[in-house]
Amino acid sequence: MPYDASSDETDDALLARYATGDAAAARALTARLTPRVYGHAYRLLGDRAEAEDVTQEALLRLWRIAPNWREGEAKVSTWLYRVTANLCTDRVRRKRPSGMEDMPEMADDGPGADSAMQERARADALQSALHDLPDRQRQAVVLRHIEELGTPEIAAIMDIGPRAVESLVARGKRALAEILRGRKDELGYTDD
């Protein structure tokens, strides 16, 4: 069964129905938003249990604000990304990760490793490298290149101007490239 059963309805419309007590809207919205929030929280935190906690808290806030939600004023997804990022930032500040300690195990099968494993190793390496970025750069890079959002929406989520978004993304990518080049040998594959 697909997670998202009402894909033709906007988040706003579903949230309005949720606020009137429509159980089907509650199920559809949960199915649609939970993976999105969880995925974003995981990208920012690198920890599944913590991503679950953040997802729960972010969605709880959404359900409680639903009766007062003014349709068309803000996008539900923008609001959720912002709340999720703020919750993640709070957690990161409380418990600054030690970086390499949380780093996933690198693939050690050498150049002959099959492509699926190599893809997985790349994903893990990127996740690890993201953790070495400053919070705001990490958030900007994840929103642009993993969530694939446009500059205006990222600017709204991060509450900054479009130029600041571009600057954060550019600096984040430069730093990521350096980190990943430094670890390339450990991964045992080439990027070509």
Partner: protein
């Protein structure tokens, strides 16, 4: 700015990360759904506004009150048309006229006969 070669390298990582999207477990999804339903406002049932007749009815106390009013009206009309003996005497004593449609001799008495006369005289 990052150069083309660096961009390409990063793209392979971003693509791999998007393809390897972390998904919540089924158990977690079920918990989130339960939470959404538990937090949901109770559905408001739309009830039509009561009609003017229903408003009057509820204002005077509903159907039991209507039954009481009807009984009192019938009793009043009945007492007016055929008053009991005691009441007939007391009305006669007070006003010097007989109450009811029948006088003490038992014949019909028109209560508006005087009016007819005055009206016909102009």
């Amino acid at each position: 700015m990052t150069d083309k070669r660096t961009e390409d390298m990063l793209d392979t990582y971003f693509t791999a990360a998007r393809d390897d999207a972390p998904l919540p477990s089924g158990d977690f999804m079920a918990r989130m759904q339960a939470m959404a339903l538990a937090e949901q406002p109770v559905r408001q049932v739309d009830t039509p506004a009561p009609s003017w007749w229903q408003q009057i009815l509820s204002g005077i106390g509903g159907w039991p009150a209507i039954a009481g009013l009807a009984a009192a009206t019938v009793a009043g009309v009945w007492i007016g048309a055929v008053p009991p003996e005691a009441m007939s005497d007391s009305v006669s004593d007070l006003f010097g006229v007989s109450a009811g449609l029948y006088d003490s001799s038992g014949s019909f008495a028109d209560p508006l006969s005087g009016f007819d006369l005055a009206f016909s005289e102009g």
